[in-house]
């Protein structure tokens, strides 16, 4: 479904992505691990082109993602959840979810709100629909952010460290939702530092360092028999922490 070939990107002289290539099958759940600055976030941001790549090729469902891609259509297809939730503070939970279908897809207010309520139920937060984001906890906000992305009914979901700003209890709530989404067959790419979470949902782990993919393996293989020295170091650091 997603094909990445020789993807390159740099900020000035600094190469963030160096010849990254991999493929993702439909319904596959990929978790991208790696130390800070390894290019994980940049990589997934190239898929919905909020970071344009410099060279190489990305195709999603056979469609090339480049400067000619119609961004609105691409972003309806590829949803994204951010580390800091980025909910719209001036809108209620319900409005946060209903606004994008209304303005982007031209849905009517009632239809959009009904759709939004469905997804808010899906993430178990429908009872908070009339509140403003500031009144919610971090975990609740992140669940709203997931519902908001789902309201665009994407075929791919990108998660950019979705649990990094959450306390452990909230992490499990968000992780449950993501696991249930995965179970429904959503193609998912997730950048995270949560090893347990990675082990739980991933079909495949991609390990990155310094803009390169060093390993790509099923979690049971990656976590027990990492092939590279760098991955072994990384895992031992993580466990000790």
């Amino acid at each position: 479904m997603i094909e990445v070939r020789n993807l390159q990107k740099s900020y000035g002289d600094f190469a963030v992505l160096r010849n990254v290539s991999f493929t993702v099958a439909r319904g596959e759940k990929i978790v991208i691990l790696g130390p800070s600055g390894s290019g994980k976030s940049t990589l997934i941001r190239c898929f919905n082109r909020i970071e344009p790549h410099d060279a190489g090729e990305i195709t999603i469902d056979g469609e090339r993602i480049d400067q000619k891609t119609e961004l609105t259509r691409l972003r309806c297809m590829v949803g994204m959840v951010f580390q800091n939730y980025n909910l719209f503070p001036h809108l209620t939970v319900l409005e946060n979810c209903a606004l994008p279908p209304r303005v982007v897809k031209g849905a009517g207010r009632e239809d959009a709100e009904e759709l939004a309520m469905n997804f808010l139920h899906r993430v178990n937060i429908a009872d908070q629909a009339r509140k403003y984001p500031i009144q919610l906890s971090g975990g609740q906000q992140q669940r709203v952010a997931i519902a908001r992305a789902l309201c665009m009914q994407p075929s791919v979901m990108l998660f950019d460290e979705p649990t990094a700003a959450l306390d452990p209890e909230a992490v499990s709530g968000v992780a449950d939702i993501m696991a249930s989404l995965s179970a429904d067959g959503m193609t998912t790419l997730c950048v995270t530092h949560e090893m347990g979470f990675a082990r739980r949902i991933a079909d495949r782990i991609i390990f990155m360092d310094q803009g390169r993919i060093l390993e790509s393996a099923p979690p049971e293989v990656f976590f027990t028999q990492p092939r590279t020295e760098r991955a072994r170091d990384f895992l031992s650091q993580m466990i000790r922490y």
């Binding site: 961004l71 800091n84 503070p89 303005v103 500031i134 665009m152």
Partner: protein, 543 residues
């Protein structure tokens, strides 16, 4: 161009000469044309008809109508009678009307701040200035002056003050004069002589209107003020003899009031002829008698004979409900609202550019903001009103009203400040907000409209209301370009009656009402920003 034949007239020198390329030449010709036609007619009809025809012919500055610039704060020469700001009265007004009748042209008066009179004349906004201005060599460098009424300078102090015998006796004392007049420069010459003699200078204080000058003496801040004898005679009726002349210096340059026109020998001769004809025809005497400059005058309606001391509640209440004050307040309010809305309309797109990537446009906006924040607002108003018509004559036409000029100036000026407010507000929004909007497939405009603007409004609102309140008061500057806003109406009424406390208080009430209304509006709007505060958001949701 090779091979293209020249048009036939281009080859003919006589034809070319008759087609002046310079538009100013054309204008010159057009202006002379009536005269040429007239001469020609005279020659045909015979010399006997000529003197009558020429005497009735309006000079070029009054062709098609006589527009008169005046600062109606100098009774009995030019002032406002009654509380309605449009009812001009005085010697100058009567003389202008007689001139219009003499030339068979309609007369229009434009009242404005004294400082604006000569720039307006130069810009062609009016044909002549008649505003109790004395004839002076310095002014005649740039304009032609035609005297119409003798006068003399007087130094006036509170009643009971000992007379002095020379200007030098005023050494070390405070003398109040109207700014924009030549009095200050004349006193400065006295100061040179005093300095040479090793004596302290006369301390000059300048005030924008004559009534404020008088006020300084009444309240005792100034020792004396400088005025003209005719004006003082009129003031005495208002002041019930509270002041008296202590010295009458004979300066040759203060012997005559004069009408000023743009330099033109023929126009000057025509105006001199007209004044002489009015005098010879016995038309000047009734005017002078009416305003009590000559004995035997009739009833003088101006100047309510009220006591100067104590607060006159009746005057205050009458001013509050008077149409003139209501209209002044309406003009002030309309000017502030329109200018600020225009400014915001201009500033938002500029702020969006400022919030984006560097480029030519961004540098241009930065230069605009720097320029218009640096230049005083008063200067910008005077520039738009008086300097612009010299470059672009279309701005001299009647559609370019003081209101329009003030609207344009204040909008452009205010936009420069508003750009900074809006830019800061946009910058304060977390970049993650736009990123989330992008990721949800919104276009740039949708992101601005639905996500950034509603949040930026909360940040921009308090400084914007602040700017607006400041703008309400800045509109008073537009009185220099003859906009009859609240403060201009106030000053005209103070000049008429000297009941300054009452009229100032009435103006203050209007300003307070306007400002408090908008503060209330601000509170109402801010209620909608409960989402930014957890406690308020909770109580909001519960309500």
């Amino acid at each position: 161009m090779h091979g293209t034949p020249l048009p036939p007239h281009a080859a003919h020198p006589a034809t070319r000469r008759s087609r002046p390329a310079d538009p100013s030449l054309k204008r010159l010709r057009a202006r002379r044309l009536p005269w040429v036609a007239l001469l020609w007619t005279c020659m045909v009809l015979g010399l006997a008809a000529a003197p009558v025809a020429r005497a009735q012919q309006a000079p070029s500055f009054a062709a098609g109508g006589l527009t008169v610039c005046t600062n109606p704060t100098l009774p009995p020469m030019t002032f406002v009678n009654g509380t309605d700001g449009s009812d001009l009265a005085g010697v100058d007004i009567d003389v202008s009307r007689r001139l219009g009748a003499y030339w068979h042209v309609p007369v229009t008066f434009v009242s404005m701040d004294f400082v604006g009179l000569f720039p307006s004349l130069e810009a062609g906004r009016c044909g002549m200035v008649i505003s109790g201005v004395v004839r002076q060599a310095a002014r005649e460098v740039k304009f032609d002056a035609v005297p119409y009424q003798p006068t003399s300078l007087v130094v006036v102090a509170r009643a009971g003050t000992a007379h002095v015998t020379s200007m030098a006796d005023l050494s070390g004392k405070v003398l109040a004069v109207e700014s924009g007049t030549s009095y200050a420069a004349r006193i400065a010459q006295e100061n040179v002589a005093l300095a040479a003699a090793g004596r302290p200078a006369i301390e000059i204080q300048q005030y924008p209107t004559e009534d404020q000058v008088v006020q300084q003496v009444l309240i005792g801040r100034a020792f004396a003020f400088v005025s003209q004898d005719v004006e003082l005679a009129f003031r005495q009726t208002q002041l019930n003899g509270k002041v008296s002349v202590i010295f009458q210096p004979d300066y040759p340059e203060y012997r005559n009031f004069a009408i000023y026109i743009r330099k033109d020998a023929r126009d000057r001769a025509a105006l001199e002829g007209a004044i002489a004809a009015l005098r010879d025809g016995g038309q000047m005497t009734p005017i002078l008698q009416r305003w009590r400059i000559m004995p035997g005058g009739g009833d003088m309606q101006a100047g309510d004979q009220k006591a100067v001391s104590g607060f006159n509640w009746r005057t205050f209440a009458a001013a509050l409900v008077s149409p003139a004050f209501a209209r002044g307040a309406a003009i002030t309010l309309a000017m502030a609202v329109l200018s600020h809305m225009t400014a915001i309309g201009l500033a938002v797109p500029m702020a969006m550019v400022m919030n984006g990537r560097d480029g030519m446009l961004k540098s241009a906006i930065r230069a605009y903001v720097a320029l218009f924040r640096a230049a005083p607002t008063l200067l910008q108003l005077l520039f738009v009103w008086n300097a612009l018509p010299q470059f672009l004559p279309v701005f001299r036409e009647s559609w370019f009203t003081p209101f329009l000029a003030a609207w344009i100036s204040l909008s452009i000026n205010e936009a420069a400040y508003q750009v900074e407010i809006n830019r800061a507000a946009l910058q304060a929004i977390d970049p993650g907000q736009a990123l989330a909007g992008d990721a949800l497939g919104m276009t740039r405009m949708q992101v601005y409209r639905h996500i950034i603007f509603p949040q930026a409004l909360r940040i921009a609102l308090p400084p914007t209301i602040n700017e607006f309140i400041s703008l309400i008061k800045t509109t008073s500057l537009a009185s220099v370009i003859s906009l009859q806003e609240l403060l201009a109406v106030t000053q005209i009424n103070v000049a008429r009656t000297f009941e300054f406390t009452e009229y100032y208080a009435a103006a203050l009430i209007y300003y307070l009402l306007i400002v408090f209304f908008f503060l209330w509006v601000q509170k109402r709007i801010e209620r909608r920003f409960a989402w930014a505060d957890r406690l308020k958001a909770t109580s909001h949701a519960a309500a």
